[in-house]
Every structure is written in structure tokens, then in C-alpha cells.
Amino acid sequence: MTTQAFLKTSSNLALKLEQVSKNFGDLTVLENLNLDIQPGSFVAIVGRSGCGKSTLLRLISGLDQPDTGTVFYDDQIHKRLNGHARVMFQEARLLPWKRVLDNVCLGLCKEKKDRALEALQHVGLESKAQEWPSVLSGGQRQRVALARALVHEPRLLLLDEPLGALDALTRIEMQQLIRKNLAGKPDSPPFW
């Protein structure tokens, strides 16, 4: 079964991978990978489960380090988490003790509460802003996670198999949401 990961670079970030390799023990997951991604790109990464999509995204984000090779953000060597990248995981990873709106503005709640509400509107969940995450369905939680990723307006957004835990119908809905908010169809511009 193939699953999808996505990657979006904002209009001011160019991403480059040079000879990147990653091994786990004896298993070589990535081997001498070279990638050149222009600013403002929306990339879908498709492949079999276990083929290394998550590994690739984790290396790009800085959550893990490559064994060989370098990752470049705008020709600058990128090693650890430095705040430019945001990740949307396969599980929503919402904080159960914060209300939905507070989850969406995580880390930015002082300045960006309005933006958070706007993001919730974009994913169709503004009515749930004051609910606890535990009352939401799996699909709804992933939509909140998407809104959270959007609010931060990152230079690089990585979506690590965000559709994996959803049922088929919800997956299609979610895919449309992602494309609408990130890839920007002609009639609806991307969120940022």
C-alpha cells in the first residue's frame, strides 16, 4: 500500500540535499540522495510503507541527522531544529489539556490568536474552537493539526504521512484540504 508525504517550501526557501545517506544498523534506508527543491514548491512523496519517507522528512526537518551528506536551507547548512521547519505527523499529537484553539496557536498564543481562529476556519472547524481534543474524531484532530501547522507560516512545512491513520473517505477530504491550503488551486490561494 502506498502512502503519501508532502513537503512545501515557502517562496523564500530553497531546499537542497547533497549525498544524504541514513542507515539504521545494517539497514540502509537512504543512499546518496540528491534533491533540489525550488522556493514555493509543493511536493508529494509517494512510496510503499517503510520506504524511507518519514526518515527523509525527519532528516530535512532536523529531528534526525544524516549519516553522510548535508542538508541545505538556502545554501546554509542545516543540522538541528532551528525553527524554520514545521512537521505535521501521522498522529495529530494535540495536547489533550488545551482547548482546540489553544492547540492551534501553540507557542504563539499571545500574538496569533486571531490567526489561529482564521486557520480553524480554513479547515472548517471554527465551531470546535473551545472544545477539548478528546471529543474530536480522528479526522477532525488531523484537521486541527493542519491548522496548527498553517498558523506558524513556516518556511518549510513537512507533512509526514498525515493521511495514514484516517479512513478512506476522510483521507480524500483531508487531501483536498491540504491541496487547497498549501498547493493553492486557482480559485483559492494558499493560506500563506
Partner: protein
């Protein structure tokens, strides 16, 4: 999972009292008809009479206050140390490696065995009793705080790091709230042990407190006062538990297990 009955909340709240009330009625009937000799167990009416006498004379209030004060100080000191140490050992591996073994050893020393030492170290005043209560209260709060911190969901921490939270924010927004259910369990256990340890502590020569009231009564064969003292301990324990229950329902509103809606 039980989703609750359709009866009003106050009725379901009283269900817990059905059994005790039934037992009291049984007890009253048994003493009335002489099945139970008043030497073994005085009638409930005698207990109530003793309670009224002691309240009027002011002795009951004085003794409860004295016991509560010792318990309160023990809870404050033991609870604070247990909480802070649990946080410390839970957050920092090196601290845990150094300190946890010592804590485990202290925990296993039975309180009764310590009494002679406590008398030698602290005399027979208040300090010794507060010390014993501190010791009793310390461990559950320590262990449960430690456990709460250690079982933080690593996926949430990773998400927090990705979303730019600094170490303090990681602690205050992810680690600590996640540990709260465990910490409150520790508090609940500690409150139970607090009263138990107090009873033991008040057997060391006292001039006030419920324990002293009970010991005095024993000297004068006032079984009704002795039983009253036991009932008071039981009631105070129940009160403490209700307080934590209330705290949980406020602080843990987000948790599906604790919601009443």
C-alpha cells in the same frame, strides 16, 4: 463504560452513604435489643451524646484543631519535598541515579520502628509528630510525581520541540500538565496515609489531639469516646478524599475519565 444513570446528580451522590447508614441502623437496633453489650460497643445514641458533650465543652474542637494542625504541617512539608524531589528525579537522569536508591531505602522503614528514635531526637513535643507525618506523606507524592513525569508522551515532546517551544514551555505546557493526573493520585494516597500516620504519631505522649482524647478515654473506660475518635478519623479521611476529588474534577476537566457531562 458506565455513562451514568438518568437520576439527578444529588441522588447518585448519596448512594455511597446507603451502606454506612444501613450499618448504623443495624448497630442501633443490636444495642437496643441487647444483642450487643454496651461494654463491647456502645449504642450510637451514646456516641452522639458524647459528641455533644465534648462539643459543648469545647474539647472536641480543640482536639480536632490540634490534630489537624499537625497533619497540615506534615502534609505541607512532606508533600513539598516529595513533589520537588519527584520533579527533580523525573526530569534529570543524573539526579535520579544519585537519589532514588536512598529514597527507596527510607520508604521501607516502618513508622512504628522509628518511634523510639523520634522520641530521642525530637522529644515528646510537636516536632516529632510532624516529622512522622512528613515521612508518611512524602513517599506517595514522590513516587507518583516521578511516575507522572517519566511517563510523559515522547511524541508530544517531539511535537513541542518542532513547534519551537523552549525548555520551560516544554515543561509547563507539556510535561507538567501531563503528569498532573498521577500527581493527584499521589496526593490522594498521601492524604490517606497522613491520617494513619497521625494516629501512630499521637500515641507518643500528647496533651492534645484526637489520639490523646482517645487514650484518655481508654484510661477511664469511656468506650463511647474511643469509638467517637475512630469515627472522627474516618470522617476526616473521607473529607480529605472529597477535597481531592473536587480538585481533580476542576483541574482534570480535559480528561475523558473525569468529566461529568
Amino acid at each position: 463504560m458506565n455513562t451514568g444513570s438518568s437520576l439527578p446528580r444529588w441522588i447518585t451522590g448519596l448512594t455511597g452513604w446507603v451502606l454506612p447508614v444501613f450499618l448504623i441502623i443495624l448497630w442501633a437496633v443490636a444495642t437496643e435489643y441487647g444483642w450487643l453489650s454496651s461494654q463491647i460497643l456502645p449504642a450510637p445514641t451514646d456516641i452522639v451524646r458524647a459528641a455533644i458533650n465534648l462539643t459543648v465543652s469545647g474539647e472536641l474542637a480543640k482536639n480536632i484543631a490540634a490534630s489537624a494542625e499537625r497533619a497540615g504541617w506534615g502534609l505541607l512539608i512532606g508533600g513539598s519535598i516529595g513533589f520537588l524531589l519527584g520533579l527533580f528525579n523525573g526530569l534529570f537522569r543524573t539526579a535520579e541515579r544519585f537519589l532514588d536508591t536512598t529514597v527507596q531505602m527510607i520508604r521501607n522503614v516502618p513508622h512504628l520502628a522509628l518511634i523510639p528514635l523520634v522520641i530521642i531526637w525530637f522529644g515528646i513535643g510537636e516536632a516529632g509528630k510532624v516529622f512522622l507525618v512528613t515521612l508518611g506523606v512524602f513517599f506517595p507524592i514522590y513516587a507518583n510525581t516521578y511516575h507522572g513525569i517519566k511517563t510523559t508522551d515522547p511524541q508530544l515532546i517531539e511535537m513541542g520541540r518542532v513547534y519551537g517551544l523552549n525548555p520551560w514551555q516544554l515543561f509547563s505546557q507539556i510535561i507538567f500538565p501531563g503528569a498532573l493526573p498521577s500527581i493527584l493520585v499521589g496526593l490522594r494516597y498521601s492524604l490517606g496515609l497522613m491520617w494513619l500516620t497521625l494516629i501512630v504519631a499521637e500515641t507518643i505522649a500528647t496533651t492534645s489531639g484526637i489520639g490523646q482524647m482517645a487514650m484518655n478515654a481508654r484510661e477511664f473506660m469511656q468506650t463511647d469516646v474511643v469509638v467517637l475518635a475512630i469515627l472522627i478519623y474516618a470522617l476526616l479521611g473521607k473529607l480529605a478524599d472529597t477535597a481531592v476529588h473536587f480538585l481533580e474534577s476542576r483541574i482534570l476537566q480535559w480528561h475523558p475519565g473525569f468529566r461529568h457531562r
